[in-house]
Every structure is written in structure tokens, then in C-alpha cells.
């Protein structure tokens, strides 16, 4: 309010002053996280169908535990509360989905606590953690090898509560036969729809891919990471097959284990993946190469979890090395070298 000549005074308007832009996109962090949950639900529903209601209770417990743990941690340490933004919910759901259905509730809660407190909050919370919380927790839970490697066949009865007699329900997973250099016993289409042994949310390649397509259409993720990851695995397995049917071998590799869940939902985790387009492609290729190396030469049948965790450590480096192309017509090559491009 300025003084007008003549000393007129008027009521002051309570105007908000801020720097531009003065409009923003409607969808915030929680809308994005909600999209991820929606994309995961079909695969989860199939898991409930194949592995029973315990899938549902485990997922719910895990989701609630993650949100409560984040809320508790932030309340106790008087930090800004981000527990309701949905990221803890996604972590809880993803962790449950990459564990076997026979996992005891206690171990699941231990994993949730590790993911939220050690991996996420101690590093500064959403946007700051170096490693994917769900995958880190899964790697941490591998210190209980028996519980982590008891996979059930889709037809076995699993009680919702209480102890599961591991020996009674155990079945071989397609990954185990792949590691032994043999094609899995079940037909390929079973692998595709998820009628096979494995962690509860990882078996249905079809619906995980559909979930990924949904996320791409909603612009939540770009297809760069999943495509480069799956493409690398496909290329390497078709070039170096075991047995004499390279294409079936490749498809079995693609549709078994945690590859789909990993490539679509874990490797694309915002916080732990590169943001530049070149970086994302290099990251996907790196994930693919390490996955195949572990699957072929490792002692452990599944390489997705460790491949993504290893590549997580390179996210910032890849961003730095593969910066976007400039409009000015110069191409920024590896390590900041400048290359002239003719107009």
C-alpha cells in the first residue's frame, strides 16, 4: 500500500507474494506413489489367487508396519512427517512382494524396520537414500536362508496365521532349474501367468508388465530403465543359452524369478536410479549384465536383487557422466568431453 497524494488510505489486500512459477502440476508425490500401488495390485491379486490369503495379510502387515515405523521415527526425532506421502506404503508392499509366502510375520517386520529405519531414514528419508529400501531389506533377510528360500507350489495350502511347515510345502522354483542349466519343468505359459513357485508378488510376469505399462502411460516411470534392463538380459541369454533352444531359454530367464518385479518396480525407484536419460539406459544395461552374471556364475540362483543394489551405488556417477544433450548443438559425451555437432 503506497501513500497516494492527498493522503488517501485504503484497506490493504492480503496478497501472497512468491517467486514464479505461480502454477504447478496437480499431481504431487502421493499421487505418484498411489499410481505405483495401483500398478502393483493386479499382480498382488494373482498372488492371492495362487498362494492364498496369507499374501494379503502379509502385505497389509508390511504396509502398515512401514508407515507406522516411518511415522514413529519422524515423530520421535521431531522431523517433518512424510509418512503419509505413500512412499513407505510402496516400500512395504514391494518388500512383501519379493519375499516367499511362507515368511514368518516376525521376519517380515524385521525387514520392514531395516528398510524404513536403516536404509531410508538414517540416510535422510525419501529422495536421499542410496539403496532401494525394499531390496536392501530383502538382502538383509537373506541372513535367514532357510526362510528366504522356501518356495511353495501354487497349489499348496498355506495357513493365514501361524507357522508354516516348510518341508511340507516346499517346491522347486524355475530359477533353481535354470541355475542347474535345465529348462524349468513347467510350461512357459505357466511362468508367464505366475502359476509357479517363487516370491509371492514376482511370479506373474504378465500382470507385472501390464502394471509397468500403466506406469509408463501415466508418465510415472519412463520405459528406459525396464526396457534396457530386460533387453540386456534377453540379449545375453539368447546369445549364451544353455541347452539347444535359445529362444525358450531366453523367455524362461525373462519370466522367472524376480526379474519383472525388479525391472519394472525396483530398478525404476526414483531415489536410487539415475535421472538423466543416458544414465537410465546405462543403469538398465548394468543391471541386466550383473543379473545374468549372477544367474550364470553365482552361488545364489537369483541375481536381480543384488544387481539392482550394486547399480544403485552408480546412480549419481551415471548422472554425472551422461548428462543431457544441449540445445546448442554440442553433444556432451562421456565424462564431460565436448563434441561439436554440425547444425
Amino acid at each position: 500500500m503506497t501513500r497516494l497524494p492527498g493522503g488517501k488510505k485504503e484497506r490493504r489486500l492480503g496478497l501472497m507474494v512468491s517467486l514464479p512459477p505461480h502454477v504447478h502440476v496437480r499431481e504431487g508425490t502421493s499421487a505418484i506413489m498411489l499410481d505405483v500401488v495401483v500398478a502393483l495390485l493386479p499382480a498382488l491379486a494373482v498372488a492371492v489367487y495362487f498362494f492364498g490369503l496369507r499374501v494379503m495379510t502379509l502385505s497389509l502387515v508390511s504396509v502398515c508396519a512401514c508407515v507406522v515405523l516411518e511415522l514413529g521415527y519422524q515423530t520421535l526425532l521431531k522431523k517433518p512427517i512424510t509418512a503419509w506421502d505413500g512412499s513407505a506404503m510402496v516400500t512395504g508392499l514391494l518388500l512383501a512382494m519379493c519375499l516367499p509366502v511362507t515368511i514368518p510375520y516376525g521376519l517380515l517386520l524385521l525387514g520392514d524396520a531395516f528398510a524404513i529405519i536403516v536404509v531410508k531414514q538414517l540416510y535422510g528419508g525419501i529422495g536421499r537414500n542410496v539403496f532401494n529400501p525394499a531390496l536392501c531389506a530383502r538382502a538383509f533377510l537373506a541372513s535367514f536362508p532357510v526362510q528366504l528360500s522356501t518356495f511353495t507350489s501354487p497349489t499348496a495350502y498355506i495357513p493365514v496365521w501361524g507357522h508354516v511347515d516348510a518341508d511340507a510345502v516346499a517346491s522347486a522354483t524355475p530359477l533353481a532349474s535354470l541355475q542347474a542349466g535345465k529348462l524349468p519343468a513347467e510350461p512357459l505359459r505357466y511362468l508367464f501367468v505366475g502359476m509357479t513357485g517363487g516370491s509371492m508378488g514376482e511370479t506373474c510376469a504378465l500382470l507385472l508388465l501390464l502394471g509397468g505399462a500403466f506406469l509408463v502411460l501415466r508418465h510415472v516411470i519412463s520405459p528406459r530403465i525396464p526396457l534396457s534392463y530386460l533387453g540386456t538380459v534377453a540379449l545375453l541369454t539368447v546369445l549364451f543359452p544353455m541347452g539347444n533352444d535359445p529362444v525358450t531359454w531366453m523367455l524362461c530367464q525373462l519370466f522367472s524369478g524376480g526379474l519383472m518385479l525388479g525391472a519394472v518396480f525396483m530398478a525404476t525407484d526414483y531415489t536410487t536410479s539415475p535421472v538423466t536419460h543416458g544414465g537410465q539406459i546405462a543403469y538398465g544395461i548394468g543391471c541386466g549384465v550383473i543379473t545374468v552374471l549372477i544367474r550364470y556364475f553365482g552361488a545364489y540362483p537369483e541375481g536381480v536383487c543384488y544387481a539392482i543394489l550394486i547399480m544403485n551405488a552408480f546412480a549419481w556417477l551415471l548422472d554425472r557422466a551422461l548428462r543431457p544433450r544441449r540445445l546448442g548443438g554440442r553433444l556432451r559425451g562421456l565424462l564431460g568431453r565436448k563434441t561439436e555437432v554440425r547444425p
Partner: protein, 444 residues
Amino acid sequence: MREPFFGGVRLVDQKAASRRKQIGSVPAPELMTFPMNLCPSCPAVPCVRVGERVRMGQKIGEGGEAGVPVHSSVSGTVLAVEPRPTAAGEAFLAVVVKNDALDTPAPDIQPRERIETRSAEELLHIIREAGVVDLDGGGAPTHARLRAARGRVDFLILNGMEGEPYLTGEYRLLMERPGEIVAGAAILRQILGVKETCLAVERTRGEAIDLFEDTGFLTKNGIRLVPLPPKYPLGTDRELARMVARRRVPLRGKAEDVGVFVLDVATAAAIARAVLDGVSFVSRIVTVAGGAVRRTRNCEVRIGTPLRALVSAASGFRGEPYKVLVGGPMTGVAQFDLEVPVEKTTSALLALTGAEDVPPEPPRCIRCGRCVSVCPMGLLPMYLSIYAARRDFRMLDKLELDLCTECGACAYICPGRVPLVHQLRMAKHEKRMSETGGDALAGR
């Protein structure tokens, strides 16, 4: 195949309320304020004294060597020559004129004929004396840009993109006064000697495109219409040179460096009026819009009119506005005072309600990378923000902070609501201060 445009954002254009509103007029109020920095790069010096009578179109501020003069848009008496608040938020030396409502014109306003016989230098002089500046954003003196570009350019792009939401002034100009734009283009061609002239508009301006294509009005006058996708910020010189002329502007260069001259349609029309009608630049089209405005309008407003008069012309506010902006919502300046005057670069007065933006939230980067995807300059806003918080000027240099144009695309798209434009602008300021040895917070 036109080159695809990477980056940028698709904005909700919010133009429905004002795009069909014909250009109206706003009565000039009793007091008019003319800040001397209407051309910000080279402010004018007042050449009238308090108490002196001025006529409409009379020069009241003498432009410097490279600048342009300031004219009174009304006739009346000079009431004061003193610093007054401006829309940029700082006070600047201004001439306050008491309007006598007679609109007595200055004697030297005469229509000109036989323009084609005039030399380029003569035309440039007319444009300078009329006070024409680039009406979109910067407010650089047009005559100086034209003079520097003479002989170096062969491609003229008339910029009718108007990519920011709410703004419809240029669109109405295209619909109602295309003759002025075409006449302006002819004068520009005469000055620059360009071979090709294009008019770039957003593809969404269907009615204007249909109008020109049906009547063949532009083609007849040697202007090619180029509809472009509705992506923000496609209306910058750099993008237009690439999309329309298919030439890549060097990283720190200008469109002129690759032989392209870009001028917005409003400035082209102003040049036509200055040269043909002989009138100085004393009024422009301003969109008055936003959810807190009773009557959305496009109006021809005299420079120097206080914002308050514009609000009255729009029948006042509907309830209490949340923000009042001068300019578009992506780059406009939020106002705290409605006494500041309309300037030459004022494209709009927007009164927004709280519902027109998302509610403020504590910022939190989730590393989603959307800012990197949308940055038209190919920068990494997310990393720039991190290094800005650390005041790591060496890294900011390496990541080329200086290329940031503050278009606002990154901050618009950010789901974590990080005020990236604010942070980067502060970082530039602090960097400048650290280089000049000054205190970053001096004068604040």
C-alpha cells in the same frame, strides 16, 4: 519432418475465459505513473519539470545512447518526478502526470506515407523515437536489436506463440488486427532485408489458423504460417530458430548468430503503428484474467495506468484474490500493491484464487528426474539445487547454471514442490556476489 521438441511441459492453458473477449479499452484514471525504466537495460532521464503541461504522446523521458524515450500516454500536468514502486518490486524514478482527460495530442503525431522510399536508418530512428521495445518479457530496445541484426539475418520469425496460461492478448491481436502485424512485418523486411518470413503460433489457436488459411491473408503478404505443438517454453528465440528455421543456436549465442530474427507479433504491430501512423508507443494489449476477477477481459491499456484501474475495468475482484500477478503465471511477478503502473512489457494482470494452484507444501525432492526431462536447456535442475544449497559454485559452473533461463518448467512439474526457480535464481545472485566480492545479502 520437423525436429521434435525434447523437454518442456504441457500446461493447462486456462485461456477459455478470455480467448473470445474482444479487445476493449480502459479509461485512463486521474493519476498516471511513468517509470523511467520502461526499457530496463537503459533507463531514460526525465525531460519535464514538475508543473509542466504535457500532451498525449509527448516525450517525457529522454532515452540514453542505446535506450528509447518514454512518452506520456495522457495529456495533463506533471505532478511529481520521484521514485515510485514498479511491478518488478523495486522503486524507480518516475514521472507522475495528472490526467486532464482531454487527450490533447502532441503536434508531431503525423501519419507517414511512401514508407518504401525511406532508408533503413530512417525507419530505425522512427522506431527508436516512438519508444518501441520488445514487448515479450525483456523489454530490450527493438531498434538496437534490429540495427545489430541488419545484414546478418535472412529469416524473420514473428512469434505469436503466447505459451503461458491465461494470456490471450497476442491471440486477440492476431484475430482482430492482423493488418498491423503484416504491415509491421513488411517494415521489418525492409529494414533487415530478410528472404523468408514465418508466423509461429500454437497449434491450439485453431480459429486464428483457420482464419489465415481460409483468407490466404498471410500467404498473400509473403508470410508462412507455422503451427507448433502447445508445449512450454517453445516460444523462446532459441526454440523457434530450431523449430521453424531448423537452425541450431550456439549454446550461449543468440538467434541472430544463425541468421534468424525473432520478434513477437505485438512488437511488430507496434512498429507498424509507430512508422505508419506516427504514434508513439503509449498503449498495449493487456489480458485481465484469473479466477478472482469478475469480468475477464482483453483491453488496450495506456502505459502508466495503475493496476487498480485495470481491476476496476474488470468489475473488481470476486472475493479476496490470493495472488495478483503482472505477466503470465510461469514467469510473472507477484504483486503486493495495486498502485504500480502498467509497463511496456506488462502482458497481463492475473488475479488468482488459492484454488488455481496447488496448496503450498514443504518441499521435498524425491529424485523423480522430471525436472531433468523438462529442462529446455538440458540442465540438471535437481543437482543444481543440491549444489546451490551447498554454495558449491565450482560445481554450479560445471553444470552450467548460467544457461538457466528461469522458464519455470522444472518448478512447475516438480511433484515434491521444490521451488527450483527460486533456488537457482538465488544461486546465480550469490555466485555473482561472491565473484564481485560483495555480500550476497547486501541491500536486501
